[in-house]
Structures are given as structure tokens and as C-alpha cells.
Amino acid sequence: MKALIKLKIRLMKDNLILYVIMAAMSLILSAVFGGTMGGSYSPTIVVVDELQTVETSNIINDLQSEHAFNVKLMDYDAALDEVMGRNVIAAVVFDKSLDQGVNVIQLRDTVEGFQLSRLLEDELSLLENIKTLDSQLSGILVNEKIVFNQDDLYLEVKNTFGDQWENKRPITIESYLVASDNALTSNVSRHYMIGMTLFFVTYSLMFTVGDFLEDKRLRTLDRMMIAPISRRGILFSNLVSSMVVGVLQICFMVLAGKFLFHIDWGQNLLGVIGVGVLYIFVMTTLSLFVVSIVKTMAQLGAVSPIILTGMGMLGGCMWPLEIISSRLLLTLANFTPHKWALEAIEALTNGNTFSYLPILVLLGMGLTYLILGERVMYFKSLKDNQ
């Protein structure tokens, strides 16, 4: 079996260019997606302030100070033109009392639009809380017959509560992330780095496992079957050598992310790599299952992009699942290893928490594909023999 594993690794040298291309694609696309949708990129929004109040002015200042958006002020018609012309991602319109909400006009849902909505919700929520607190305090002071200036009280409440809000925001955000499944990841670049790595590593895996078909074509498989090595031993060697490639790719991408894109993988780097290895196991066994169904390398070449791209898209490698609202798509995502691996790695990198459910699901998927692949191959060999 050692000889088989060594051979497979030796043969990989001939496909080195394929692995280099896959790794390069992961890096380039991570840079493109991450750079566009995260990192230093600030999308432009326009603000239409028809209310011209202190509160709206504060909100606009806050939007600008967040540096998440490039903010421009203009009138309603001009703002609408900008949105329709796709020059800006959204227009924020303050045209009614703030307690009735704020209009956000956009052509379609985007990650940035979602971020903008969350930011506005935060601002409005803060204003609403200050108002409620001011009103409660006014009631108490009136009941206690204490003389006070309404404007001064509002200012005091705003400054005190607002400051506390600002100071405590990191804590509030953290608790919000833990409590909500819909929380947007704080680091879009990291998401794309993970997503693209998970996506591209699957291609090289599929074709490495597909070497089994090549051995069948070359009849070298016959030589292996005649040798004193079991059928399972041959299969296992193939899987181990494929996994080695996948693990090397994952490690390379984690290190490239750290040193090229300055991605913070959190405190538990080993945990991240561990989940990566588990994901590689699942994708290797999935590849085995696919290879067991097809008959030739040509067939594998035809079906693998459909399967892998479909799974990658569904699983959230190309965009965060948070922006998906379709229940069907979200349900289907649960059947992809990509979704669970992303979830486990992001849980580790965001909050250093070890998430057991994704690990268990990945393990279950890997074992299921392994058993299915092995059995299909066995029954096919019996059929070939009949």
C-alpha cells in the first residue's frame, strides 16, 4: 500500500500545473471578490435629506464616519437617477418622521445593501432608545416635582446613553452575532478566501481520485488487482494520496491568506486547518462516489463542473448565504459540505468558538459518501465480472 501511495504522489508531479492553476485561481478570485466586497473598498450611497433635522444630520455623519460607505448628498430625483444608472448601490431617503422608518432604494439585494440596512437600523434603534429613555426620565422628574429643562435633559440622555452605546457597541455586536443566524460576517475578504479555497480545492481532488479511472483504462488496475493487495487497500491508497493534495492546498491557502491578504484566522489556526482536513475528507469521498458512478475520465470531466460548481454556489462559496432569502436554496445548502465547512471555519475565525454541529455533519457526510462509493464500486466490479 505504501508503494501505491508513493506512486500516486509521484504521478501528481505530472499534474503539478493543474494544482498550481487551482491554487492561483483561488488566490486571484479571493483577491477580486474580497477586494470588491470587503477590504478597503467603499461602495457609494446617496442620501436624500428632506427632513434636515439634527437627527438626520447625525445619522449622515455616522454613516460617513463608519468609512463603510462613500456618502453623497443630493435631491430625490438625482438620487433616483444615480440608483437607476447603477452608479450607486443605494439611496437613503429621509422624507418622513424617523419613527416611521427610513426608505432605502436599491435595484437589487446586495451584501452592501444589507450592511447599510443594518447600520440604519442601529442608528434608528439608538434614537428610539434615547427618546424612550428621555420620556421615561421626564415622567419621573415631573412626578417628583423636580424642575428641569426638557432640551438639556434630552441632550444629557443622548450624550450619556449615546456614549455608552458607542462604548459598548463591540460587546453588543458580539452578542448579536452569537444570537442571530442572520448575522453578516464581519470580514468579507475572509469569507471569500475561505469560499474560494473550498471551491477550487474540490476540482483537483475530483481529478486526483479520478486517477482510478485512468488506471482502469491503462489496465494498470488489473496489475494492482493481481498483486497481493486488497481491493480496499487500492481504494484507500487512492483516497489517502488525494487527501494529501487537498490538505497541502488548504494549508497553502490559509498561509497565503495570512501573509498575502493579512487575513485574521483567529486564535485557533490548527482548528481551522483541522476543519479544512475534515472538509477534504468529505470532498475526497464525494469524489470517490462520483468516480464510482461514471465510467471514463471524459464523463468525469463532463459531470464534475456541474456537481462542484452547483454545490459551491449553493454552499455559499461564491456569496454569503446571509444574502439568500429563498427557503429552498437555504435548505439545499444544508446538503452541501461547503456550507458546513464555511460555517465551522467562520465560527472559529469570528469568535474562536468550536462548532460541533458542522463537524458532525461533515463527518456524517464523509462516511456516507465513502460507504456509497465503495459499495457502488464493489457492485460494479461484480457486474463487470458477470
Binding site: 508503494a3 509521484r10 491503462l218 496489475r223
Partner: protein, 311 residues
């Protein structure tokens, strides 16, 4: 016996590829397995090499049932498939090393065997070149070399000389002969009858999944009833002097072709034709020339199956 098959049968669906054959191969012999395309040779070989499981029957290697437990034969079997089962992108050395590794060889022992085998197959000088750069003959030699690495007791060769130059073919045939001399049992299939005649001690002939004849080449010729024909030309008319010729030992029949030319059919193998010629000389007949046509496996095959080997 090295290999014994009893009522060995292999069916693929409704099609019977091998039909209840009995076979026994002695240790240390080079045995030819002949048959036209679709006769069942490859299926028989595949069953012996444990690639196919027989539908019924029994198969033994050195007395051990290899259908129940293929482990008895696997370490002792060398297999040379008809196709070049090699990795083109690797060198000959790497191919030999890898396949040797499958049989548990490693380190110095493996290196030593690779060196020995590369000398046997005559490819030691270009061993480090990629197989894709080899000629057809060199690839065939490596294909054989792979089967020799672990010093097997039994080697199965499935048409090992297909599509190669005469020089490589001769080298391969010499290699097979020397394997036989070393006491290794060889099962050899080929479409080239002259190869089988040159190297095989025993021949088994298959047709339509059945074993139709077996034995030494002489025995098969005898069995098929084919005789040596001696065409003789005389200086004068011979038609009135035929009786003494018909009475000669081993002369089965005498056919007159012309006034001064005839054919004598001689039975028995070996040197019986020489005895007949000597007797004719002793009769003081004015024999001017003669031509001997000895029966061969091609004729035996034609007689037994009704078709040529390459039909």
C-alpha cells in the same frame, strides 16, 4: 501440478465464454494456449490470474483452491497483459520499482531486482528514460519485466509480442525460453503459431470456450492425423516402380504427380522422414531432388477448428 482446473466455466449473462474446461499444467513447463479470437483464452487466463471469478468449477494452484482463496497464487503470479499496462509518464526504472513495491519489495532488495530484471529484458541502458520515449519493443520488454520482479513461480503472458520489431520479438522469446530453463512455469498465448512452436513444450487448443486438444506438438500432429509429405523427383519414369515404395516403413501413401514425380506421406514424428529417404536411396532409384513439408501447428489448428488462428 502447478495449475489444475476442473470443469472451469465462466458465463457472462447468457454467453458462455469458457465451457467446463479441464486443464493441468506441469511445474516448470512452457505451455502454449492457442485459439482463435473469442475462443476463451483471455477469460481462462483472467480466471487463473484471479481477475475473474469462475461461474463454476474448481481451480487449484499447487493444490490450493484459488477460487476460495486467491491469496495462494497472488504472490507467486507474474502477469503480462496484452495491453501495455505501464505509466507512460514514469521512467522504466520507476515503473519497475513501483510494481515491485506492490509485492512487498523495498530498499536494496528492490533495487537489486530492478537491476537484474532490466538486464534480463535488455533495457538497462535506457532504464531512466520515460516510457513514453521508448519504442514499441522496449515498452513490451518493460511490460514483461514488471511481471518478473518478484520472482514468480508462474508467469502468464497474453500475446506479449504483438506489434513489435523482429529483434525485440527474438529477445522476448529468448527471455521466455530462459525462464523455462530456470524452472518457471509459463502460460503463453499468441497469434503467432511459429512462436508457440519455437518455445512451448505443451500446447492447449481452445475453440468456442472448450478445450479441444492438448499435448506435445508431436502428439497433437499425430492426434490430428497430419503427415509429413516428401515430394520426390526422379531422373526417369517412376510409375512402374511404385510397389517397393509403398512397402517402405512409415510410408502411409504414395501419390504420383507426374511420370517422374511423386509424394510420399510419412507417419510418425521425429526422423521417420529421413528413414524413408534413406530407403529410397538404397533402392537405387535415380532420385534427383526432394522437398519435405513437415506438419505444423497451423495445420493442426486448421484441421481441429476448421479455421486459421487469425480468422
Amino acid at each position: 501440478m502447478m495449475i489444475v482446473a476442473e470443469k472451469l466455466t465462466k458465463k457472462f449473462g447468457d454467453f458462455t465464454a469458457v465451457d467446463a474446461i479441464d486443464l493441468s499444467i506441469e511445474k516448470g513447463k512452457i505451455v502454449g494456449l492457442l485459439g482463435p479470437n473469442g475462443a476463451g483464452k483471455s477469460t481462462t487466463i483472467s480466471m487463473i490470474s484471479t481477475l475473474y471469478k469462475p461461474t463454476s468449477g474448481r481451480l487449484f494452484f499447487e493444490g490450493n483452491d484459488i477460487i476460495k482463496s486467491p491469496k495462494w497464487i497472488k504472490p507467486h503470479l507474474g502477469y503480462v497483459p496484452q495491453e501495455l499496462a505501464l505509466y507512460d509518464s514514469l521512467s522504466g526504472y520507476e515503473n519497475l520499482k513501483y510494481f515491485g513495491g506492490l509485492y512487498g519489495l523495498s530498499g536494496t532488495a528492490l533495487k537489486k531486482r530492478v537491476d537484474e530484471v532490466s538486464r534480463v529484458i535488455g533495457i538497462d541502458e535506457r532504464l531512466k528514460d520515460r516510457v513514453s520515449e521508448y519504442s514499441g519493443g522496449m515498452k513490451r520488454r518493460i511490460n514483461i519485466g514488471v511481471a518478473l520482479l518478484h520472482e514468480p513461480k508462474l508467469i502468464i503472458m497474453d500475446e506479449p509480442t504483438v506489434g513489435i520489431d523482429p529483434q525485440s520479438r527474438n529477445h522476448i522469446l529468448e527471455t521466455v525460453k530462459s525462464l523455462g530453463e530456470q524452472g518457471i512455469t509459463v502460460i503463453y498465448t499468441s497469434h503467432y503459431m511459429e512462436e508457440v512452436e519455437a518455445i512451448c513444450q505443451d500446447v492447449w487448443i481452445m475453440d468456442h470456450g472448450k478445450m479441444i486438444a492438448n499435448g506435445t506438438q508431436e502428439a497433437l500432429i499425430e492426434q490430428a492425423g497430419i503427415h509429413t509429405a516428401i515430394r520426390m523427383k526422379f531422373d526417369s519414369q517412376i510409375k512402374d516402380r511404385l510397389d517397393p515404395l509403398r512397402k517402405l516403413n512409415h510410408a502411409m501413401a504414395v501419390d504420383l504427380i507426374s511420370d517422374d514425380e511423386l509424394v510420399v506421406l510419412v507417419n510418425g514424428g521425429g526422423n521417420t522422414h529421413k528413414e524413408v529417404i534413406k530407403s529410397v536411396m538404397e533402392l537405387n532409384y535415380d532420385l534427383t531432388s526432394f522437398d519435405i513439408t513437415r506438419p505444423n501447428l497451423e495445420q493442426v489448428f486448421l484441421k481441429l477448428t476448421g479455421r486459421g488462428l487469425r480468422d
